[in-house]
């Protein structure tokens, strides 16, 4: 049967090649949208690692350059945190360089034995775990006892612990890096706690290696300043509280600008900044597919009409209606399958291009599967009416045609 269908398809190769290209192109469109949706959808279901409700992030900007505070002004940042804790209505406050949803990240790497571990890092002070609602899996968060130790305390997230030690039970171990590793100078860094994956860029981002480095108020070592303050407030805190907070901060550090955002706001912004382009892409792709479906219906309809005599002859020779119907759909599925093959072969090349480095393999696989199912469904839907038309063909009438 398949060989017969192949022969039929080959006879009309010129028309079929164009059809094949069209279906393959639609496959690529569905794949692109599908890959995005499965990727972000998969990330959405993972644990987030913090609680964004009723938290403010206060970004400090030095007016000099539009960047963060200069080195050596950590003591001042430390005093700002103390000041914030005094404001009535503030439940907790701390300093964190890279709070959730805030744009910038510090990316560094350790050379460990024969491989390089890339991670995001952020300075953090005592109490940041309480403000952000970080979930400890093992050990503890920073405390003042970390001031007196000859090593720098770090808290790492689950992904980092698994990547580096293969387990989350790694409290007390020091980070095994080669001499000359790029981050943190020569000071030994020792893990004091492990937290749930800290997905700084929010629900849509993948879990990533993350390291919190202890920032002492005296800026003894390691990162010596915090770019951002985080504050936990009661639900529905009024604007007046924000005004009071900013007033206190300005009085203490007049050379800095302060930008207060609720994490809720930042979260919404980040969500839409990722979802708006995908939504537009999705709408456009949806219309493209609708158009392709209508076009396919037209092509198949025409096909059936053109072959009335052939099909009528087959009916006269004893083929059943179902058989004819199956033949038409079979031919369609054959062309579609070849197009899907072409498309899949193209997509599988993707990981070899640098631009798609960040796309994980499972995403590509699920994107391909989703696209195959969608395109097959569309092809069958398009073929339904035309193939039903063939069952209306009356042999006598068909042979009479023209």
């Amino acid at each position: 049967m398949i060989r017969h269908l192949l022969k039929l398809a080959w006879h009309r190769k010129r028309a079929n090649v164009l059809l094949l290209i069209e279906i393959a192109a639609s496959f690529l469109v569905v794949f692109a949208v599908g890959a995005f949706v499965t990727y972000f959808g998969g990330n959405w279901r993972r644990p987030l690692g913090y609680d964004w409700r009723d938290v403010w992030a206060i970004t400090i900007t030095d007016e000099r350059s539009g960047s963060g505070p200069e080195e050596g002004e950590a003591a001042l940042a430390g005093r700002l945190v103390d000041e914030l804790r005094q404001v009535p209505g503030v439940l907790a406050a701390a300093g964190v360089d890279s709070p959730p949803y805030v744009g910038w990240t510090n990316i560094s790497n350790y050379d460990v034995k024969d491989r390089t571990i890339v991670f995001m890092s952020s300075g953090a002070t005592v109490g940041a775990d309480r403000v952000l609602g970080l979930k400890l899996l093992a050990g503890r968060w920073f405390s003042r006892e970390d001031d007196a130790t000859p090593w720098q305390a770090v808290v790492i997230d689950r992904e980092m612990a698994n990547d580096m030690f293969g387990t989350v039970q790694c409290v007390g171990k020091s980070i095994p890096r080669d001499k000359g590793g790029q981050e943190g100078g020569t000071l030994e860094q020792r893990v004091v706690g492990v937290i749930e994956d800290y997905r700084k860029d929010g629900e849509l981002a993948p879990p990533d290696n993350f390291v919190f480095q202890y920032v002492s108020p005296e800026a003894r070592s390691g990162p010596s300043r915090t770019y951002c303050l985080v504050v936990r407030v009661p639900p529905g805190a009024p604007v007046a509280l924000e005004e009071a907070v900013v007033g206190r901060l300005r009085a203490l550090a007049p050379q800095w600008s302060f930008d207060v955002n609720t994490l809720d706001q930042l979260r919404t912004q980040r969500f839409w900044s990722i979802c708006t382009p995908i939504l537009i892409l999705g709408i456009v792709a949806g219309f493209l597919l609708l158009m392709v479906t209508l076009g396919l219906i037209g092509v198949l309809w025409q096909n059936v009409a053109r072959r009335t005599r052939e099909l009528g002859l087959r009916r006269a020779m004893g083929a059943t209606r179902l058989g004819i119907c199956r033949q038409i759909l079979g031919e369609l599925v054959l062309v579609t399958a070849m197009a899907l093959l072409v498309g899949t072969v193209l997509v599988v090349q993707l990981p070899f291009f640098d631009a798609f480095d960040g796309v994980p393999r499972p995403t590509i696989v699920s994107g391909v599967l989703l696209a195959i199912v969608t395109i097959l469904a569309i092809a069958l839907a398009a073929g339904l009416y035309p193939s039903w038309l063939t069952t209306r063909i009356h042999p006598a009438e068909a042979l009479h045609h023209d």
Partner: protein
């Protein structure tokens, strides 16, 4: 005229095919027209950037050393040493990137974008002032707390009444309004903001020592000056700048057209002449996007050859040339594209109005002007030809005898 009538008849006879074709054409052109309108709103000559042909811009800079690279907007020091007195330049302006600032006003929180600019900025770019006027270079040298605000900011702070002479508080500082301008779309990367203040109005002057920072410059060429010469002289000056930071030993800052400068952010920040490359990419993207719908129409039209084979056979037998037939089929397609284009223009107007109202792009003023419509016409023609040529060619080549018999391959 005869071909036109014929084409109309054919289109009316097969309603389903006409509908599918129209749908494809309209939708494709709708998407392309919206994209064109966005590009037009961002780059076409319009106040305040109404002289892009005479303007050259520097925004990107890169300092490079063996172990470190710093890329960003240009620094104040780099620009203030290289931009003034360029030969062939009539006026030059320095401006910073906008920064988000907050204020608390009668129990409400107000945020605005604030951009620091010099006094010449207002003469290189020509804003539409609703009241008052720009601040002047003396405000810059004396760091006067003055501000030009846009109409929306006037509404938010002063309830829409006249604002010149009144003061408001922003980021803990009291500013006096000297002028109110019409809103500038946020797609205008070089000029848009809510509030414009003098560059010197800042709490510290560390910015004065930066080679890479958050500043840009725009120069207005004298009539007759060649942009290439000005850019070359600027590049020479940048190359001759002493670099006092031991981390870095080379400095780059391309001077380019406003379009080239803005798009280079997405391509290569350190090169000039990115405008042509960007246009190539834009056309490629447009053609690729047109590809699938065009293929869809090609397939549809090809499959209709049989249905029309007797028509073709008869016409050929009676002496119609292949060229005449090809013309007829092309005309059918162009007619479809034209009707689709018209529909697309109407729908685009609706979509643009929706986008303007949605607030997706702050101060968006997307509109369907003559320039956009002209591009729409070009795109319509390209699409009509793209989707019509192959079927028309195939149909016109049918052999009359075979066609009459219903054989056609």
């Amino acid at each position: 005229m005869h071909t036109l009538k014929l084409a109309l008849k054919v289109l009316r006879r097969r309603k389903f095919f006409t509908f599918v074709s129209l749908f494809a054409v309209t939708f494709t052109l709708l998407v392309l027209l919206v994209a064109t309108a966005v590009l037009d709103s961002a780059f076409a000559p319009r106040a305040p950037e109404d002289r892009p042909q005479r303007t050259l811009v520097v925004t990107n800079a890169q300092a490079k050393g063996q172990h470190a690279t710093r890329t960003g907007w240009a620094g104040y020091k780099l620009l203030v040493r290289t931009i003034p007195n360029l030969p062939g330049v009539e006026r030059s302006a320095l401006f910073a990137t906008p920064r988000k600032l907050t204020t608390y006003h009668e129990g409400r929180k107000l945020t605005c974008q604030s951009r620091r600019v010099d006094g010449e900025f207002w003469r290189v770019f020509r804003f539409a002032f609703l009241e008052g006027g720009p601040f002047v270079p003396e405000d810059e040298t004396q760091a006067n707390p003055v501000a030009v605000i846009n109409a929306s900011t006037r509404d938010r702070f002063f309830g829409g009444g006249p604002a010149v002479g009144k003061t408001f508080e922003l980021d803990g500082r009291r500013l006096r309004v000297v002028g109110v301008v019409r809103d500038v779309s946020s797609l205008r990367m070089l000029t848009y903001s809510d509030v414009w203040v003098p560059i010197s109005l800042t709490r510290s002057d560390g910015y004065k020592n930066e080679l890479v920072g958050d500043f840009g410059a725009a120069v207005l060429l004298s009539p007759g000056a060649r942009p290439k010469d000005v850019a070359a002289e600027f590049a020479r000056r940048v190359g001759a700048m002493p670099i006092d930071d031991p981390l870095f030993d080379t400095l780059k800052a391309p001077m380019d057209t406003p379009f080239g400068t803005v798009v280079s952010t997405f391509l290569d920040q350190t090169a000039s002449g990115q405008g042509a490359l960007a246009m190539t990419y834009i056309w490629l993207a447009a053609l690729m996007f047109m590809g699938l719908p065009a293929l869809n129409l090609v397939n549809l039209n090809l499959s209709r050859i049989l249905e029309r084979s007797s028509e073709i056979g008869v016409r050929k037998s009676f002496g119609a040339t292949s060229a005449a037939l090809a013309r007829q089929f092309l005309m059918e397609n162009v007619l479809l594209a034209a009707v689709g284009g018209l529909l697309a223009a109407v729908l685009t107007a609706v979509v643009l109005a929706g986008l303007n109202r949605s607030g997706l792009i702050p101060y968006a003023e997307l509109s369907l002007n003559l320039r956009v419509l002209g591009w729409g016409l070009v795109l319509t023609l390209v699409f009509g030809v793209l989707s019509g040529v192959l079927p028309a060619w195939r149909m016109s080549r049918l052999h009359p005898v075979g066609a009459l018999q219903g054989r056609f391959e």
